[in-house]
């Protein structure tokens, strides 16, 4: 047993036997063996020159990530430009790293950011804390919070890594009206939630990409 336990777990490359051996390898025998061993090594190098290369010249070249890679978050908008976030804080509740801070606000007739009564007034994600687990995305009841594939989250200032709402909001697409603005006429938040609002109504304001004639 005692001997067994001392038996090396890695494959015996003959080194132990060679060390124990009385016989010395020398002269021509050594030369011949050494020469072929070297060729063998260079052969690996040579063959690799013709194989497909995995590395890229980052940051000049950027490879796309896997489609479902967990990157920076994004706060989404409905197609008319209203925000999807309702400030419910479920993302903050779900977050295991306490990286999210949300403070809700009350939509008013004159200043509306999201359909319904409530919107996210303050929205911060602290990327020094975030572990990109995606639990916040699962928790979001309105699909307001999703993750992008963006992974370049480094900075020389810790404060800059706390992303505010304006940093997280997705970009305005053509046809959207920047919030705040009223809801699409004769709709409720349910219509928005069901995806029935697909474009902005003229009464909501001038959409991005169009110029008032």
């Amino acid at each position: 047993m005692a001997e067994n336990s001392l038996t090396p777990r890695y494959p015996d490359l003959g080194l132990i036997a060679a060390a124990k051996s009385e016989k010395k390898i020398e002269g021509d025998e050594l030369k011949a063996k050494g020469f072929f061993t070297q060729l063998q090594g260079f052969w690996v190098t040579f063959i690799t020159m013709f194989k497909k290369v995995n590395t890229v010249n980052y940051p000049e070249v950027k490879e796309p990530t896997a489609a479902r890679f967990h990157g920076r978050h994004q706060l989404n908008r409905y197609d008319d430009g209203l925000e999807k976030c309702i400030g419910c804080e479920l993302c903050a509740w779900a977050c295991p790293a306490d990286a999210i801070l949300v403070e809700a606000g009350d939509n008013t007739e004159t200043e509306r950011f999201s359909p319904g009564e409530r919107y996210g007034k303050v929205y911060q994600i602290n990327y020094l804390r975030c572990v990109f687990c995606g639990l916040c995305i699962e928790a979001c009841p309105t699909r307001a919070l999703t993750m992008t594939n963006e992974y370049e989250l480094a900075d020389d200032d810790r404060a800059k890594l706390i992303y505010e709402k304006q940093d997280l909001l997705g970009e305005m697409r053509a046809g959207m009206v920047p919030a705040p603005h009223p809801m699409y006429p004769d709709t409720t938040d349910t219509n928005y939630y069901r995806g029935e609002v697909t474009k902005a109504h003229p009464s909501q304001g001038t959409p991005i990409g169009e110029v008032n004639a």
Partner: protein, 775 residues
Amino acid sequence: MSTEQLTEVEMITCVIDGFEVTVPKGTLVIRAAEKLGIQIPRFCDHPLLSPAGACRQCLVDVEINGRAFPKPQASCTIPVETGMIVKTQLTSPVADKAQKGIMELLLINHPLDCPVCDKGGECPLQNQAMSNGRESSRYEGKKRTYDKPVAISTQVLLDRERCVLCARCTRFSEEIAGDPFITLNERGALQQVGIYEKDPFQSYFSGNTVQICPVGALTGASYRFRARPFDLVSVDSACEHCASGCAMRTDIRRGKTLRRLAGNDASVNEEWNCDKGRWAFKYLTTRERVSTPMVRGEDGELHEASWPEAIAAAAAGLKGKRAGVLVGGRVTREDAYGYSKFARVALGTNDIDFRARPHTDEETSFLSSIALDLKTTYADLDKADHVVLVEFEPEEESPIVFLRLYKQSRKRSLKVSTTAARISRGNHKLGAVRVALSSVSDLTAKSVILVGERAAESAGALSTAVALAEKSGAKLAWIPRRAGERGALEMGAISTLLPGGRPVSDASARVDLAAAWGVDSLPTTPGRTTSEILEALNKEDELEAVLVGGVDPMDISADALSQLLNTFVVSLEISHSSVTAIADVVLPVAAVVEKRGSFADWQGSVHSFDKAQADALSRSDVRILTMLSEAMGKSINLPTVSATEREIASLGKWDGAKINFAPIASGSAPHAEGNHANLTSWRLLLDLGTLQEGEANLAGTARIARAHISSKRAGDLGVANGDLVKVSNDRGSLTLPVVIIDIADDSIWVPRNSLNSQVIPTLGFSSGIVTVVKA
């Protein structure tokens, strides 16, 4: 022992889920199950409200003496009986299925608002849908919708879609507050909570409906969307608004108070509080806080200063000078003790008074002789056969006293008499009748006389009340309006008493205290009262300086502020005020949520509270007074609130000879003729009080200021309800709409400190003769 306690209560044994339980007769099944630790789901059931059986969520299987009820029964309406066998959802599949069915029906029309609902996270419907509901909904139809939210008052919002029709809010308003402004309208599927359009939910207790709503149907406008329950750190605290002594819960998020809820103290506020206690906490963030010490420079302006600089400046102005101390009625017991010790040790004077309101020598005598020995409690109100209110408006001045009285009034038509000039809304609810104090005769040992702080304003009222109590054996209680007054009195923040009720005039009491404090002697000359201090400040060879705590001079008299002008003023304040504007040194202090301390309620019970905003840096008054006294070379040595608590406890109460009360003869009310009238006033619960600043939603439910006159005067003036009258004297005038009520023909009543009706600043007095003409 009273007879009630001697009566044996019949005990009944029944079986719930196979366990025997013995409870008093009349106990509801749901409550008996609780005793066993069996939780039956419920919405409408509330231990302090009458059973309603409205939500049907608590269905259980019941069998009495072998005969089973054909259908599951609501356990919140059935009292236990001998031989009863109850099977809850834990043992009966029938009960379980019934409960799941009810939950499914309740959820049919309940919107999926949980992410945006203020109740989400602390919602009984959410919790019980998880514990006693189905996993998924089978309902595929359209949900019934209503417009939402509907503001039923400026501070309460109603969302009818979320309502489960449990009738908790309507039962509370009717049974507890006596304000049935909110009812269930319509029937069947359209049943909904509603208000009478012309009569909004203007109850002083409306906040409780928000707290007891088991869903998010009633929410507070001020807390709307401010936080989620998991954001909040809850701290038990005491209410700083009045002397009722409510237990409170303060919810803090990131160093800010976001809401306050009624705490649970069965002997005081049960589970209720008033809207002022619940919603008036923004005074702290509204006005500009005094953030650093300030010293008035050569140029006559206040400049920010360092602590040592400001303390040195204050000490230089106070050391060796004849100075007085105005404490104010809002201090904690510990801070009051600090002021009291500071006056005696550092300033060597008895010129200290906590009364920032009209007061008399009669009241001083009453406070220093009898007030601290009064042992009346809320329990005495519950047992009283007759309650006499002497210059005291329970609903306006101590709302929890009102709730207790109303409970008895509703239960057994408690007899209530009042000496007020008119029957207020609150007293009307109590069924109170107006009496002259001298003519009250049918008092017994079970009767209670409640004396308010305004008794000091009518000469002889206190003397008559004391005599009446002595003659009849009735219990007497003094109920001040402000939370700190009773504590300040106990801590000796008054000219005639030292801490613990030790009389200044008693040499042995002085020696006792001087030994405890480690000083040679204590001042022997009797001190001045608040008004005497203010007068002495402007006289040659009298007072040269004054230390002012949280006092609004306009509460004392119209001239008080100008009397402070030409003297050295050290102000300890939380926010910039009229006093800090004229002070020579301003020292910032901690507000109630930022410090530890305690208040004594009108019964004398002490309610301690801890620092709620843990990261606040402001210091308690007592700490600052210690620094100041050290700079003056006569330390009061109270470096922390806990050290003060220990010193107060070690001193104990005075058990030696007491001062005798010196009664005075009753004065007669001034007689008014023609267009003159005898003006009386009191403060309404919601008015322009300093501590209610910054809360517009709360102010929206304040009662509108009206001049109350008799029908004869209205006829003479030719005015009808709603017409404007001008109430004036040589100092100023108030123009108010009139309301014609039952009041003496030569009298007029206006609110003391409401919008458009600030009596003391405008007319210069709180009661007296005014001229009333049509405006």
